[in-house]
């Protein structure tokens, strides 16, 4: 299997050496993939386990691989239009909850951009059409999607959050009922903040949420998180 990967990579390097270098080293990625193997299979004969197999992941909409029981959150991300590209996979592997708040993938994330680039290069080998992938995402590697720790450390004012929250409650129900629109009550503050910044930075795709989060300051997002975590 490893040698097969090498041959494929060689072909790619010849076809488009610059982009292939940006994506990282698939052999190093194969080593990193050992962290993922407990749940995910990749390569010939791969099947679903605790997590879905990852053949052909590039270019696929989230949560559409038949036969795997995805979390509601992952299904919603797919419905909102999340497509697995070098950029979105990079962000997801860096911090899974930035893109999918209640994902069942309990993985703390790969913080080193080079590790992620290598891992993505390895995943890419088993994609449907590897040659076409990097051209669509030339800026994919090295981008740091994770939030500045200073933003996560902000202490929100729940009273301001209560006022700001009135705008959320036109759609999201205050008693936590989810009906076509997800519940946002009692989330861990960090998850809430990470999710809102992912909308603000347009990593998450929902147009209403991009618009609503887009005009909130870091302090306002912290205030909302501080309010909603305690909403009974």
């Amino acid at each position: 299997m490893r040698s097969g990967a090498k041959i494929l990579t060689l072909v790619l390097l010849l076809a488009n050496p610059v982009v292939a270098q940006q994506l990282g080293d698939p052999d190093a990625g194969a080593e990193i993939f050992s962290k993922c193997k407990g749940c995910h299979q990749l390569g010939e004969g791969a099947s679903d386990g605790i997590g879905p197999h990852l053949n052909g992941i590039f270019g696929r909409r989230a949560a559409v691989h038949d036969g795997f029981a995805y979390s509601k959150s992952m299904q919603r991300a797919g419905t909102d239009g999340l497509i697995w590209t070098a950029e979105t996979l990079d962000a997801y592997v860096e911090n899974p909850r930035s893109l999918v708040s209640k994902t069942r993938m309990s993985f703390r994330g790969l913080k080193d951009p080079k590790d992620r680039a290598d891992l993505l290069a390895y995943l890419r080998v088993y994609s449907d059409d590897p040659a076409n992938i990097p051209e669509a995402e030339p800026t994919a590697t090295g981008t740091d999607h994770d939030l500045d720790p200073a933003i996560l450390a902000l202490e929100g004012d729940p009273e301001y959050g209560e006022y700001l929250a009135t705008e959320c409650l036109t759609c999201h129900q205050s008693d936590g009922t989810a009906q076509g629109i997800p519940s946002i009550t009692r989330w861990p503050e960090e998850d809430f903040v990470v999710a809102m910044h992912a909308y603000k930075n347009k990593l998450r795709l929902h147009p209403v949420m991009q618009m609503m989060a887009g005009r909130l300051s870091n302090e306002e997002i912290a205030a909302l998180a501080a309010y909603f975590i305690n909403l009974e």
Binding site: T79, D80, G81, E155, D157, P158, E159, Y160, E162, Y163, L164, T166, E167, L169, T170, C171, H172, Q173, S174, D175, T177, A178, Q179, G180, I181, P207, V208, Q210, M211, M212, G214, R215, N230
Partner: protein, 422 residues
């Protein structure tokens, strides 16, 4: 400084009594009083938020003539057969029982701004420190030649939901095979910009099932309308050959109706119709005139707190307000209500007043599982409520997206009605 609402109120109400409430308390009537006229998306929301957040410090009275409120939003889905009439009916019991709001089912017929009283049709009057008007719309008399409120039984407007909506649906169902449904669309500005065109979609859906050779004509005084590209794409996809939109340049504004003969004449051409929906030109609910705060058809307001430009103690929400860039919609009224509640509470009890933020999203259903939306955020400027950012659904979206948009609209309906009625 960090505090939660309870500790803030615990110390804050007493402090507020020393800071800003004296102006009110000095009048010698104890608790400050807010009277809200109109129990829709603006009025029910503002009453609920003031009562809830003041925790008994403000006496709130809500004047609403109907016992059951039928929302205009989603009433088109009833016409299309996607909702039952009871699905869009809401009552005021929770606002009274859980939030302590004095719900008065009566018509407000006059406002004396000097005496700060509201007169009720059933006799008696209500005193206020702050009056909030959210009366929705009334119609401009004579705006459609041949139509008056006396003719609304033959040609319903169905633009205040309830019996009119049920009547219109019954008339559409009773249309002769291959008959014509006509709509006279309103001029700008009016309640719910995409509403007439969502209605056309829903009527088309109903007819496609029950009367597939029927036709729909729309006489429209406007050259274009909200979500026009999306609706026209949808009409082509779902109801090809059924819908004939006659805009301004084809004489759509030159229209008269004869309710007795059931004819509609558009730019000189008379058509016999099986059912006709006349949506006249609109103006602020009449109580705004009685209160003397309107200027022309609408009530100019200050964006920062929705107070009337004529009287700082009279606030106006929703369809009746001339506020700037927001459309007249239930979502907008609900959004304005929360800004207003925050400001009114601050003025009466000294609670903290935060900067105004507004938003709106309007979902429309074009056909089964084919929902679209348009939305924007807004801020208060000294001149008006000004648009900040916005988005609209795209033509050619895939069916997964459109289905999710419809499901989201159902979630929104549950959310906003819970936000209004508790």
């Amino acid at each position: 400084m960090k505090f939660n609402r309870r500790t803030f109120l615990g110390t804050g109400v007493a402090a507020a009594a020393a800071v800003s409430a004296p102006a009110v308390l000095a009048d010698g009537h104890g608790k400050p009083r807010v009277v809200v006229i109109g129990g829709g998306a603006g009025g029910a929301t503002v009453a609920r938020y003031i009562a809830k957040d003041s925790e008994g410090a403000i006496a709130v009275t809500l004047v609403e003539p109907t016992r059951t409120y039928f929302s205009c939003f989603f009433s088109n889905l009833y016409l299309g057969g996607f909702k039952e009439i009871d699905d869009i009916g809401h009552t005021y019991g929770t606002l009274a029982a859980k939030y302590g709001i004095n719900v008065v089912h009566d018509w407000a017929v006059d406002v004396d701004r000097d005496a700060r009283t509201v007169s009720l049709a059933g006799g008696g009057s209500l005193s206020y420190d702050k009056l909030i008007l959210s009366p929705g719309i009334d119609f401009v008399e004579g705006s459609v030649e041949g139509w008056s409120i006396e003719a609304q039984n033959a040609m319903p407007h169905a633009y205040k939901a309830g019996s009119q909506t049920e009547l219109l649906k019954a008339q559409i169902m009773a249309m002769p095979e291959g008959g014509t449904f006509a709509m006279v669309a309103p001029p700008n500005p009016y309640r719910c910009p995409p509403g007439p065109y969502e209605r056309v979609s829903m009527v088309a859906h109903l007819l496609k099932t029950n009367n597939p050779t029927a036709k729909i004509i729309i006489a429209d005084p406007k050259p274009k309308f909200s979500k026009m590209g999306l609706f026209q794409e949808g009409w082509g996809d779902h109801y090809a050959g059924m819908v004939d939109w006659i805009g301004e340049e084809f004489g759509g504004g030159n229209v008269s109706v004869d309710p007795a003969a059931m004819t509609v004449t558009i730019d000189g051409e008379e058509t016999k119709v099986g059912a006709c929906n006349v949506i006249p030109a609109m103006k602020a609910g009449r109580i705004a005139d009685m209160a003397g705060v309107s200027d022309g058809n609408w009530v100019p307001v200050n964006a920062v707190d929705m107070s009337s430009k004529a009287d700082a103690d009279v606030h106006v929400l929703g369809d009746s307000a001339a506020q700037g860039d927001m459309p007249k919609s239930g979502f907008a009224a609900n959004s304005q209500a929360k800004v207003c509640a925050n400001a009114v509470r601050g003025a009466l009890t000294g609670s903290k007043v935060f900067p105004a933020k507004f938003s709106n999203t309007c979902w429309s259903l074009i056909g089964t599982d084919n929902g679209v939306k348009v939305g924007a955020t807004y801020e208060a400027t000294p001149e008006k409520i000004a648009k900040v950012d916005g988005f609209i659904s795209q033509t050619g979206e895939d069916s997964t997206t459109r289905k999710a948009t419809y499901e989201e609209s159902e979630g929104w309906y549950a959310g906003i009605t819970a936000d209004m009625f508790g």
